[in-house]
């Protein structure tokens, strides 16, 4: 396999609504910034991978129109869609395209404009023979799994609220983040509107308009263009069964993330993830999920996630800062969210994260989450 690295990233401001640009123009903002960050032009791009949840905006083959915003004219453009993991799936597809030897420079762009659609209804367009009869939305479904998780692991609403506070305080240092609430407190999270017991409004991710792009380059090119490229060291995908009721205690087991992380760690030689990984950008659609992902990722033993947030291990100054960007809890343009995780992890390696930069990052972890329990795990490193 030839070595491949990320050499540039670009994002729009993620916001409740972007009226000044249409979808193609939104994508162009992110793509243009990523190309500039990589120090290349659109002419250097050999292939393009796009990610978007087409039914959220009611589109059929959205790449036809929006692809032009990624400089797709007469270029190989491929649109990837795997639910919430679309962004990380697109990042993995783009990595494979570059590593295959067919293309030397590959641009990945994810986007979503939730303000244009009916996301909640779009999301509920699941199996018409089954799920549509018992729709309770992403919040309701999470709340169900969280009730099991709390009962078995003893995690408290306060601990979950600390995750929500950490995310928004980090986001205050990230100019791209949608939610800007630097003064947020645990009390404010716990006193925010109850959506579905025990999930409060501020425990959940927002719905955002936004796009994120990144540029892959093959070994020689990466080294000539970038002083400190973010090398892709491991990519692992695990999908799971289609119905929520198929998954045995899904947040407790999260077998896809457990297995994907274990395999990725093996490939890179990580045996003690909490200490060997320097920063993590994980896809946490709800505060409680981050705690569950700590356990599945092996950052702590099962049942210890609450302690990890209590003792500050995952804060910006902790042993393993998790989501310095503010995470999905602070910005969630779904088709872009997975790309943002990977781009933010790369920015940390490349030392381009600005005010939310973590010191001395050599190894970074990014994850994608989607459907009921699908996972992608990606590990980037300063070392080839």
């Amino acid at each position: 396999m030839r070595r491949v690295a990320i050499i540039g990233t670009g994002q729009t401001k993620h916001a409740k609504s972007h009226d000044d640009v249409n979808q193609a123009e939104l994508v162009r903002q992110a793509a243009t910034r990523a190309l500039a960050d990589a120090g290349i032009t659109y002419l250097d791009v050999d292939a393009i991978v796009l990610s978007n949840m087409e039914l959220f905006e009611g589109r059929a083959l959205p790449e036809m129109w929006v692809g032009e915003g990624a400089s797709g004219y007469l270029k190989p453009v491929m649109k990837i869609a795997t639910g919430g993991t679309s962004g990380t799936s697109a990042c993995i597809a783009g990595f494979h395209q570059c590593a295959s030897g067919l293309f030397d420079t590959v641009l990945v762009v994810g986007w979503e404009k939730h303000s244009e659609g009916a996301t909640q209804t779009g999301m509920a367009l699941t199996d018409p023979l089954w799920d549509r009869n018992i729709a309770s939305g992403a919040v309701g479904n999470f709340a169900l799994s969280i009730s099991q998780y709390m009962a078995e692991r003893g995690v408290t609403p306060e601990q979950a609220a600390k995750v929500a506070v950490k995310a928004r305080r980090n986001a205050a240092k990230n100019p791209h983040a949608h939610l800007q609430m630097p003064d947020i407190t645990v009390d404010r999270v716990l006193s925010s509107r109850m959506l579905a017991d025990p999930v409060h409004l501020l425990d959940m991710c927002p719905q955002s308009d936004g796009a994120c792009a990144l540029v892959y380059a093959a070994e020689d090119r990466a080294e000539s263009l970038c002083a400190r490229p973010a090398w892709v060291r491991a990519t692992v995908t695990r999908h799971d069964q289609p119905y929520i009721g198929d998954l045995d205690r899904r947040l407790l087991t999260m077998r896809t993330l457990r297995d994907a992380a274990r395999k990725a760690y093996q490939q890179v030689g990580i045996t003690d993830p909490l200490n060997q990984i320097d920063v993590a950008e994980i896809y946490e659609p709800v505060s409680y999920a981050e705690l569950a992902w700590y356990e599945a990722l092996g950052l702590c033993a099962d049942g210890e996630a609450g302690k990890l947030i209590d003792n500050g291990s995952t804060e910006m100054d902790g042993v393993l800062p998790v989501n310095p960007s503010g995470g999905v809890l602070s910005a969630n343009p779904v088709g872009a969210s997975g790309v943002i995780r990977v781009a933010e992890a790369a920015m940390q390696i490349m030392v381009r994260a600005g005010a939310h930069q973590v010191a001395n990052v050599r190894t970074a972890l990014a994850t994608g989450y989607g459907v009921y329990a699908w996972s992608d795990v990606i590990i980037l490193s300063v070392d080839k």
Binding site: L125, L129, S136, L144, S145, Q241, G245
Partner: protein, 152 residues
Amino acid sequence: MTELLRISHTMNMDWRYGTSWYFAKFIRALQDKRLILGLRCPVCRRVYLPPRPVCGNCYAEMREWVEVKDVGTVLAATVVHVPIIDPLTGQPRPSPYGMALIQLDGADTTLNFYLAENDPAKLHIGMRVRAVWREQRTGTLSDIVYFKEVSS
């Protein structure tokens, strides 16, 4: 500063979703006999709801039907306070309402379904619930109104 416009489009289209033999049988039993049928995997012996042609864990075809009870145990519960848009009606579903993951007696998967109870204090993991059926059944999962605690 330019006036910024938005262009509206309404999607109003129908799709016809095939049922295959397995869902057709499931629906017929539900509508005609208030019977919940699952399919058993010949390898892992798990009984699946909803029925499907292949067990994803074993990659084995499933053909053995198993009668599942309309009584089960709550493994997870919540009360939803936000009015979720019901994809069947396009209207917000009246809230708050109770939801649970229910393991029906005889099934190995859980069924996520509405509860009659919507007071969080009265919901607990392990509670036993029974389906309340509609008088006029139409052959959909909605032939069950909700699940109600089995009075002891």
